[in-house]
Amino acid sequence: MSDTTADRRAAARVVPDRPLEHHLFQARRAGLPHVPAYLRQLWERRQFVHEMARSTLRAQNYTSFFGQLWLVLNPLLLGCVYYVLVDILGTGARQPDYFAKLLAGLFAFNFFSACLGQCAGSVIGSSRLIMNSSFPRLLLPITQIVIAFMRFLPSMVVFLVVHEVEGLPWSWPMLAALPAFVCLALFGAGLGFLTATVQVYFRDFANFLPYVIRIWLFLSPVLWALEDQQARGGNKALLISLNPLSPMLGTWGDALVRGRFAHPGWLVTGGCWGAGAFLVGILVFLWREREFAVRL
């Protein structure tokens, strides 16, 4: 061995004169980590989420002019497709604000479905990252939710233009849409954390997901009004009232399109669903995330 190596051996017995982090990795494949420490690490990396979302959108050309134009055109075209579909299938007798209501519900539902779909691929799609570095894995689905939100924002510009063009009222009760959206985001995030976890165990889960989402769309007050269906009664009305998205999207559409907040109970129910799903989603994800590196 050279002198340099001998010097190193002498230095090797010295404890560094700087503050040292301490990590203890114990045998426990599943189970919750120390939640306050985990949340602190998550919070310390909040800038990562923002930067990752921004960089991903930039890499997909969504920050260019045509990319942004597509973000506006896409939801508008989708709205037109569903409008034509409902027009053909329906009786033709609709309320004058139907198109605005359809757009509001569709844009919110698209955000929700993007949370589920993008989160499902978030862990599997980052297998290299997970196998090579240690960080709170919850950052991955959270980043996807932020990306879904960034894509959702331009669609709201489309809605506001349609709202103005159709001469719909602007009023204070419209602000009730904000808590309704928070409920929806919490619910979408909670289910997103669950889909991210399930996808690790069942790799074909993402193939089933679009069908589930499509059926969920038809069961939600997007193409139809919640009050109308509930007024009809029967099993269908019961099923619709059991749908967690019904109170959230019902409040959302009511507030944004008609400028009214007539059913505070819907918001309370939506809030319970949102908070419950968020909590369960986080706990399940944290409970299983230790196993992700072994499963990928």
């Binding site: 230095a11 017995r13 404890v15 203890l24 985990y38 800038q47 090579n132 570095s133 240690s134």
Partner: protein, 281 residues
């Protein structure tokens, strides 16, 4: 690129002046105590699908087989050491690296690390090949828990060291493997790691990169930073390391002077697979 374990107990911020954490060995940077790691590998590639589970609900126990990657590994590494890790393919070297980094949870046993961990593992670094080197550096730093200000402070050093020129602003998918390796090495070594884990990452570069990376490793060691170096290049192990461990089928075969350990490892490779664990002799 990482400095925390998302999945394990972490208590940060203790130093020489602070009360020692439970089980702290004083001069030890890393203590691996009787660690076993077992992978559960599906026997049938389709076994981890919903369709498979739904159509074959019975016989669940036969779905996976267990691969014991580490079987009772115990090593202690002092601050300022450069530990070479040698072994044949499938010996458990990369698994050991990932376990020390807190990426893979042990099936049994425990690992204690005193200091910030930075990894430079076999599959490389980088979040998105569509993003530029600059963006990947920022993302890597943020994922490691650094603030934008801290990254900005280190960025110029990283860019200068990697010496990529205009390529630093081009998508990483346009990089050669050597350029990729240079940037990855620059990021992991400039994050001020206390424990740096390098897995087969020095082989991609040219002679100049190797010389620079050797010098950087010496510089880190002089600051009492600890390095784990996995390499099949015995000459690299002998030149850089002051300690060496040889793994075989998840067990420590030998530990000690790099010259002696690598010589025994080479002899073993020539002799065949029929050796006993030398620590037991």
């Amino acid at each position: 690129m990482s400095s925390l374990s998302a999945s394990e107990t972490v208590a940060a911020g203790t130093g020489p002046a602070a009360p020692p954490p439970p089980g702290a060995g004083g001069t030890w940077a890393v203590q691996v105590r009787d660690v076993h790691i077992t992978y559960r590998v599906p026997r049938d590639p389709r076994a981890n699908t919903l369709r498979y589970r739904l159509t074959r609900p019975s016989g669940r126990r036969d779905l996976v087989r267990e691969v014991k990657a580490l079987r009772g590994v115990s090593i202690e590494v002092a601050h300022g050491s450069v530990l070479g890790v040698v072994g044949a393919n499938g010996a458990g070297k990369s698994t050991l690296m990932r376990a020390v980094a807190g990426i893979l949870p042990p099936s049994s046993g425990e690992i204690e690390v005193h200091g910030r961990i930075s990894t430079l593992l076999a599959l490389g670094v980088g979040f998105n090949g569509n993003l530029s080197g600059r963006e990947n550096v920022v993302l890597g730093g943020l994922a490691a828990g650094l603030s934008r200000r801290q990254i900005a402070k280190r960025y110029q050093q990283i860019a200068d060291w990697a010496d990529l020129g205009d390529f630093i602003d081009m998508p990483m998918k346009t990089y050669s493997s050597g350029m990729y390796g240079r940037l990855a090495f620059a990021v992991s070594t400039h994050m001020e790691p206390d424990v740096l884990l390098i897995d087969e990452a020095l082989s991609a570069g040219d002679a100049k990169f190797k010389r620079k990376s050797y010098d950087k490793i010496q510089e880190l060691v002089a600051q009492a930073r600890t390095i784990f170096l996995v390499s099949h290049a015995v000459a690299t192990i002998r030149e850089l390391c002051d300690d060496c461990v040889w793994l075989h089928r998840g067990r420590v075969m030998m530990r000690g002077d790099p010259e002696e350990v690598t010589a025994a490892y080479i002899r073993f490779q020539e002799v065949g697979e029929d050796a006993v664990v030398l620590e037991d002799v």
